[in-house]
Structure formats: C-alpha cells, structure tokens
C-alpha cells in the first residue's frame, strides 16, 4: 500500500486499524519530500527526526491500546506563518531567518493534540504578501504541474506539497485568496473558513481583520477532516467565534437537490481566460446535473474589492509589521559607523534610528516594503479619511452585497483566478498585475465569509483550472458538502502531475 495514494481519511483509518503504521506513513511522505522537494522548494524546513519520533510514539501508544487522537499518524505540512515551538518560523523572510517562537499556534496545538504529525514548514510569499510565492526570501516554489510556473500564493508551498503528494494535507492561511488561489493553480482543494472560525493565535499577522487559517488537501472530504480538528473557539483570540463546531465529515451525505448557486456576471469580464471560462461553465453544469439550480446574482461593489483590499490590508500590515525593528528579536543590522554614519546618502538622527532603518531595510523584501509604505501613507494624518476610512465604508457595502445575495442563493460559484498558473517571473515586474490575481477572492475576506476552491478541469496545456464556491458566514458544512458532491461526480481532483508521479 502506497500511503501517497491514499486520502487523508483513508490514512487515518488505515493507521487506526493497524494496516499501516504511523512510521511507515510518515516515512513514505518524508521520502517523497527528500526526492522531490529539491526541485519544487515547497518546504523551508523539514523535521524528519521530529516527525519520525512523533510517529513512533503514536505507534507505541496504539500498540499499548491507549487512545489516539482523531488525526493519529496523519502527516501535515504547516505554512511557515504559523508558530511552532520546536521548528523555525520565518514567514519566508530574512527578518525572521532562524527565529524559533516559544509557543505553538492554536492550530498547531490542536493538530498535535489530535496526534497529527507535523512534517515541516512550507514556503510562502514573505509575510503572506503575494500571489505567486515569488516573494519568498528563500526562493520561489515551483508548480508541480509545470516547474516553469508559479504555484500561486501566498500559501504556494502548502499547495505544491499537497499537489506533489509530499503531504496528504497542509495548513495555509488566506488573507485575500492565499489558500484558494494556489489551491486552484495547483489542482487541489483549499478552504478558507469564515473569519474567526479558526483561531489566529500564533498565526504571524499580515492583516488581522482578514487573515484566516484553513486546510488544504486533495479533496473536500479531507479538508472537512482537518477542519474538524483546527476549528473552534479560542479564548486567546478575541475575534474567534464561540459557535459550536459541527461534525463536518458527517454532514457530507445529503444530496444537492434544491441547492441554489449564484453566478456573478462580473466574473465573466474581459480578463477571464477562455479555457478557465469553459472549465467554470462545465462545473456549473455538473452542479445542475446534481440537482442544484444556477441563478445570476449581483455583487455591485465587488469590483472595488481589490482597491479596498489593497488599502485595508497594507494599513493593518504597516502596524502589524512594526514590531520587526531589530530591537528584540529577528534580524538586526550590524552597527554602522555611528551617529553620523551615512548609508545610501542618508544621515541618521541617532544610532537607534539607524539600527531601525537598516534592520528593516535589510530584513524585508521589496513587496513587504511596498505594502508597509502604502499602509503608512494611507493611515497618515490628512489621508486617513480619504483612504482608510473610505475603504472601511466600501468594505461594509461589500459585506452588505453578500448578505443581499445570500437572500437569493445558498452559495456563489465562479472562477478562482482569471488565468491558470502563470510563468515564474511573468508578473514580477508589474505589482499591479500581480494584485489582480486576487480579483475573485479578496471580496470573500472583506465580507468575512467562507470560500472553497477545487479543480474543475484542465487546460489543453495540462494546467489545472479552479472553481470557487463562497458561502454565508459559518456555511462550511454546505461548502464542503457541495465540493464533496462535485468530487464524487468528477475525477479532476484525483489527477496527479505526470512529471511528479
């Protein structure tokens, strides 16, 4: 039995029944990582020894007849934006190179308590800022379907490692599409839950009011399995939701008869790739065949989503990233020539200011600096009302659009991205073009609702096409059930990149 061929659900069952040991399972995935990741660069850190030790302990406990957690023996790859007490946590930034937090993120605590095995930390855009994974300080991730192409971002490492079967499931985070877009470009399934459904404690903040952790896997059923473990109220996160966590895995069976799916006309604007459009249309047809009905809906303010997002997110980021100043931890510039030192033609008013400027200048990459500057500018006296305050107003309108739309339909369907995976370097020279990769995904975060993306076809060139469903707040059971039903009727999610397999 090849563990890499099994679903996460099957792996957990096999280990529980003794058909597979946790060590065999973890070893199989670690071997694939050792074999494949040299070219894909999906991992920033692999914890071979730790993972095998954890797996051995789980096997010993099973042998002794002691109780096992819900994910016992399941290898999980964790985005490097989540704090792990025993592993480096860098956010793919030079600023945090080698940084080891003294505590585990709430999600990591829950995974460990469920006896999941953390195999490593995945590559990402620096501080989750980007849509291609090219903003990593430690090199881009390559798309397993075509190594010349980007996996998307920012959770590109998590998406690529699942697509290449280096881990059956991975944890990502989504601020404007960072789970759904790379899942779409890598042909896997990724869920961004409702804001507050999964605790943010220990997730290195990018934009606090938008950030949300979620599962990435090969199927909706596997996402349901992982979400059951990581969702739930955390008194340590004031924005986490107190609602009871449903048994997502047990709510997948009900058919889709009578389900109303909305289709947004604006999604079919000029930029939409024809092959993506064909894939999306075929997906709607599959849902109709499954008993759902499709209705046109309006999200009148969604077209301002990207502009709104690129004000709110940088504003929050400019403040969230102020702590990386070289004073307490992380990268600190070597002392300069002192008070009157010049650097790049610049005089510093004090050694302290010089230390701040040079540490941040050296530690952050260009995209992070760009967003810190955007946010600092937009929050400045005299600009606040014109930018930040106005963006908050538009955000409220977008949220209202969703509330109105969900009066008419149960879910909203459409493309995840306008194009399939693009070439590495294709958009790096044009930040604005790069920002548009979030076109179909940012509004979900602005509205605080949930969304799931999964493969709905392939281009002639063999690249995956992603479909996105968005639901009202706390509609995860419905999102997962609809995606799971789609995957029972199609086989797109089972395809593997040939070069890898």
């Amino acid at each position: 039995m090849q563990p890499a061929d099994l679903s996460a659900t099957d792996i957990v069952a096999a280990i529980r029944q003794g058909d597979l040991t946790a060590v065999q399972c973890v070893e199989a995935f670690l071997d694939r990582i050792a074999r494949l990741d040299g070219s894909l660069n999906a991992f920033l850190h692999v914890d071979r020894d730790g993972a095998l030790a954890t797996a051995a302990a789980i096997d010993a406990r099973r042998k002794a007849g002691r109780p096992l957690g819900a994910l016992a023996g399941l290898p999980v790859a964790v985005k490097d934006a989540l704090c792990t007490a025993d592993l480096p946590t860098t956010c793919a930034s030079r600023m945090l190179a080698g940084f080891r937090p003294p505590y585990d993120a709430d999600t990591v605590v829950r995974l460990r308590a469920a006896d999941a095995v953390i195999v490593g930390k995945t590559n990402m855009d620096e501080f989750a800022m980007g849509g291609s994974n090219e903003n990593s300080a430690f090199g881009p991730v390559r798309n397993p379907w075509d190594p010349a192409r980007a996996p998307g971002g920012s959770s590109g490492g998590s998406a690529a490692c699942v697509a290449a079967d280096m881990a059956p499931v991975a944890i990502g985070s989504d601020t404007g599409g960072s789970i759904r877009q790379p899942a779409g470009l890598c042909g896997i399934t990724g869920l961004k839950p409702t804001y507050g459904r999964v605790s943010r404690r220990g997730l290195v903040a990018f934009a606090s009011s938008l950030d949300q952790i979620g599962p990435m896997a090969r199927s909706a059923a596997d996402c349901a399995l992982v979400l059951e473990t990581i969702a739930g109220h955390d008194p340590g996160d004031s924005t986490s939701l107190a609602d009871v966590v449903p048994r997502y895995t047990e709510l997948l069976e009900q058919p889709l008869t009578g389900l109303r799916i909305g289709r947004v006309r604006d999604h079919y604007a000029d930029g939409l790739d024809p092959e993506v459009r064909r894939g999306v249309d075929e997906a709607f047809a599959v849902f109709e065949a499954a008993g759902a009905t499709v209705h046109d809906v309006e999200l009148p303010h969604a077209k301002y989503g990207v502009a709104t997002y690129y004000l709110i997110a940088p504003c929050e980021a400019s403040s969230n990233l102020a702590r990386y100043d070289g004073a307490h931890y992380g990268h600190r510039a070597k002392p300069g020539e002192g008070h009157r030192a010049e650097s790049g033609g610049r005089r510093f008013e004090s050694p302290l200011v010089e230390m701040y400027c040079r540490s941040r200048g050296e530690g952050f990459g260009p995209e992070v600096k760009r967003r810190i500057m955007l946010g600092t500018y937009a929050l400045s006296a005299g600009y606040y009302d014109a930018y930040y305050a106005k963006a908050l107003k538009v955000r409220r309108l977008i949220r209202q659009d969703y509330l109105d739309a969900f009066q008419k339909v149960d879910l909203i369907g459409g493309p995840v991205s306008a194009t399939p995976a693009f070439r590495l370097g294709e958009k790096t020279g044009d930040p604005l073009a790069m920002y548009l990769v979030d076109l179909y995904t940012v509004a979900t975060n602005l509205a605080g609702v949930g969304g799931i993306s999964f493969p709905c076809g392939f281009t002639k060139g063999g690249l995956p096409i992603g479909f996105q469903l968005q639901g009202p707040a706390l509609a995860e059971p419905l999102l997962l059930r609809a995606a799971d039903r789609f995957q029972r009727l199609t086989e797109w999610h089972v395809r593997r990149p040939e070069r890898i397999a």
């Binding site: 956010c91 903040a205 996160d237």
Partner: protein
C-alpha cells in the same frame, strides 16, 4: 473664591493636568502576566507583552471595571460603545511598535472633581475632558554616558493597565493643582482603583500651563502653553508650576509672544535645580497613525453593568467628610483631616469612636497621638501596634478618671513600644489603679496633716487645695490629681 487671582500677581495662571494612574489589577491589560512591582527585569513577560509574532491581546475585564469605577466617581459619561485603537510609533520600550490605547471613542468623558481648601482659600470644580484606558510601555535605562550608547530595556511594565485622566484647564494656581491632585489620589485610593504610588510609577502627572495677562486696553493676553514633564511628586508639581509661571511672565515681558505664535513647548522639571528646561523637539512625532485595533473587539457597557459597579464603590471622600462630621459630631476640619488620611484611618477612627461612644475624644486621640506616631514612623495603620479596641480601652479609662491624660499618654507610648494591653502596661509600670476607698483614706490623712489648707478652703479659697496634690503624689504616685482634688474638697465640705 479664587484666592490666587486675588494675590498681587498681574496675571492668572491657567493649568490643566494629564494624569496617568496604574490600575490595581493582578495581571496586565491584555495578557495574564503579573503587574507586581520590583521583580527582576523581564521576568513578568509573555509572547503577548513581548509583542512576539502571532501573539494576540485579550482584554482584562477587571481592569475595565476598575476604570469604570474611576470614571463614575469622577462623574463622567460612560460610552455605551467603546473601542481600542493602535497608537503607532517606534521605541525600544514598545515591543509591538504600537501602543493599544483609545483615540476617538474613549470609554468615558465629561466629568468633574471638586477640590476645597479646608482653610477656606478656594473651592475649585475641575472639569474632566476624558478618561481612557491604555497599556503602559516598558522601561528604558539609557547608558549613553558610559560611552557605549547601550540601552537596557525592562518589559515587566509593558502592558500594565493605565487610566489616563485629562482635565480642562480649570486650575488657577500651583497650590490648587497640588490640592486637586491630592483629592484625585485620595479618591482613587478610596475606590481601590490605584495605589497612586508615584515612586513606583503608578501615578504620573504632566501639566499644561500658561498665563492670562490683562492688558491696559482690557484685552487678555495669553502666553504660549507649555507642557511640563518629569515631576515626581505633588510637591514638585507645585514647585514646577510656580517656577514656570514666573518664567513665562518674564518671557512675556521680554518677547510679548502670545499663544499660537510658537509650537507647543515641552519642558522638563529639574527638581534639584528647581527649574524647568526646554526638551529636545521631537520632529513629526505627532502623527501616530491611530486606527482601530483589529485584534480586539469593541466593548459595550450596559446599565446593569454600571449599576453593579456603582453599588461596589462605597462613599467617595467628598461625601464621607460630611457623613463623618454629622454622625460623630466632629468639626468639618477634623472630618477632613481624618478622611484625607484614607479609608483605613477612617475605619480605625470609627471603630474607636463606636467603642468609646463618642467621636470628639476619639478624633483627638487619632489626630494627636495615632497620626503623629504614624507620621514619625512612616508606618501605615494596618501595622499599627495599638489596635482600636486597645485605644478605646485606654480612652475609656482616662474618661472614667482611672488616670489623667498625661499618664494616659505614657501608657499609650508603652503600649506602642511593647504592643501590650492597657492592663499589662499599667501593671508593668507599677501603676496600680487606686481604688476609691484607698483614695478617701489617703485624702483624710492629707487633711489631718494640713489644717492650714483646710482652713483656707473653708474660708473660700478653693485653689488652696492644689497644695495637697503634690503631697498626695508623694504618698502614692498612681493617684489621679483631679480625683484627689475633688475628693479633698468633698471631705472638707462634709466636715
């Protein structure tokens, strides 16, 4: 009554205060770390107050309730909805790069606190602009003098809950400012909101001051407002303001510079030198880029919650003064002295007064003996060796005439030194209480030995009896002189 304005100064001093008080909570405002003062540096910290990546704040309910108590006692309007804002600036004692504070929607505003000069000098009702909650920064210790330009940072204090109280510019003299601060401190200590210990940094004051100078043409010239910092006692606040008023008047006479012509100046008080000095101008530091903290949820306050807080507040000092004076028939001045000493002294007083059954005598003993001793020893009442029941016993015996007041003081001193009861001290000092039969026998003896005095008294010169008292003391040092006198007179009258 504005006494200060009535002085000979050709101007009015206009003062507003900004007071930061540390709330008396066990833990910090947004994490579970202890707020205990004096721990080894950086031992009371966690990922939240260190600002580590991924850490999140969670509001301390107790801190919010204490702040509500303070605001209600200051007569403030409580906002039904309040939020947290980030004040962004870089400094090494601020590990997150921002302070969590309250900007445009403070939890309370529009209050007042009146201060009365017990000597009748002034009554001043000072408006409160706002009271808000925020977290404290850490402490930096600069060592640039050592040539290394190293600074040491202690983050134990980072995240400690602070209440910021901003007054209207309603104070009119340095004396008023000091008296008002005393009243504020008294109130906050009574409420258990803060210990207001300035030495430990749990109360900090900045003052804004300028002068209003009447001109010959009837116009009032206003000098530029100066903010004074680094004052570490209420006495320094008074001194700094007094110095600053004179300095501003001199500067006015030299420059005629008025409010609005120069940017607001910050001056630091140099206590040993007794002067204020201009502080380095912080360029562009005023743009804090405030915005709502997305990690925290807004706080709502309802009537039920306010009622609960009100019910737990007890009488504020201003009310207690009146209550005490009426209940125990003591003068407003005496009530003021007692109340100003704090809730524990008032409790001690009421305990003694209840046991003795009278306020005035208890108040006298408190003020003349207990408070004086506490001042001399620098002690607080809870560690005072003479407990209320013992003091009441002593006062009762003096009132019964077992011994006179000066002997009572001796016994009090010994009780203080040894911590023993009245009875034990009386026994150990050999002060046998003279019973009535012994006293009568002693007086008969005296009268027999002093026929001249007896004759004088009978002749109408009662004061002649004084000659008997010295002799009585020689026969028995424990006799009460007043009782000897009274007994002798009665015996002579009965002859």
């Amino acid at each position: 009554m504005t006494a200060s304005a009535a002085t000979s100064e050709p101007y009015t001093t206009v003062i507003g205060l900004e007071v930061h008080v540390q709330l008396q909570t066990r833990t910090k405002l947004f994490c579970g770390c202890s707020t205990r003062f004096g721990a080894a540096p950086n031992t009371q910290v966690c990922p939240v107050c260190l600002g580590l990546p991924g850490s999140l704040p969670v509001m301390n309910r107790t801190a919010f309730t204490l702040a509500l108590k303070a605001a209600l006692a200051l007569g403030c309007r409580i906002a039904a909805f309040t939020k947290w804002d980030r004040k962004n600036y870089f400094y090494p004692d601020l590990p997150k790069g921002y302070q969590i504070s309250q900007y445009d929607l403070p939890f309370s505003s529009d209050g007042h606190l009146e201060v009365t000069d017990p000597k009748g000098g002034f009554v001043r009702n000072v408006g409160i602009v706002r009271v808000h909650l925020e977290e404290d920064a850490g402490k930096s210790m600069h060592d640039e003098a050592a040539g290394t330009a190293d600074s040491r940072i202690d983050l134990n204090r980072a995240g400690t809950p602070l209440c910021e109280i901003v007054t209207q510019p309603d104070l009119r003299s340095p004396q008023e400012a000091r008296a008002w601060l005393n009243e504020l401190k008294l109130l906050l200590v009574y409420l258990g909101v803060s210990d207001c210990n300035m030495q430990e940094g749990s109360l900090r004051v900045d003052a804004n001051v300028n002068l209003h100078i009447p001109q010959p043409d009837g116009r009032i010239a206003k000098t530029p407002i100066v903010e004074i910092k680094n004052m570490n006692s209420f006495r320094s606040v008074e001194r700094a303001l007094a110095y600053e008023a004179v300095r501003q008047y001199d500067e006015w006479q030299a420059t005629k510079a008025e409010l609005g012509t120069t940017p607001k100046q910050t001056r630091g008080w140099d206590d040993p030198a007794g002067v204020t000095r201009a502080q380095r101008h912080k360029e562009e530091s005023s743009d804090y880029r405030y915005f709502p903290d997305p990690d925290l949820v807004p706080v709502t306050v309802d009537e039920r919650q306010l009622a609960e807080v009100r019910a737990s507040m007890g009488e504020p000092p201003a009310v207690l003064r009146g209550t005490l004076a009426a209940k125990w028939r003591i003068s407003p001045y005496d009530a003021d002295v007692l109340v100003n000493q704090g809730r524990d002294i008032v409790a001690y007083f009421e305990d003694v007064a209840t046991r003795v059954g009278e306020g005035k005598v208890a108040s006298n003993w408190l003020q003349q003996d207990v408070l004086r001793t506490l001042n001399e020893r620098g002690e607080s009442i809870d560690a005072f060796p003479v407990r209320p029941e013992a003091l009441a016993d002593l006062i009762g015996r003096v009132q019964k005439g077992e011994f006179d007041t000066s002997r009572g003081r001796e016994i009090f001193a010994e009780m203080l030194a040894s911590g023993r009861s009245v009875a034990d001290v009386v026994a150990s000092l050999g002060i046998a209480v003279v019973d009535d039969a012994d006293l009568v026998a002693l007086c008969r003896e005296l009268l027999a030995e002093n026929p001249k005095i007896v004759a004088d008294v009978r002749g109408g010169k009662e004061q002649a009896a004084a000659g008997l008292i010295g002799q009585a003391k020689k026969k028995n040092p424990n006799v009460n002189p007043a009782k000897v006198r009274q007994t002798c007179l009665e015996l002579i009258r009965a002859m």
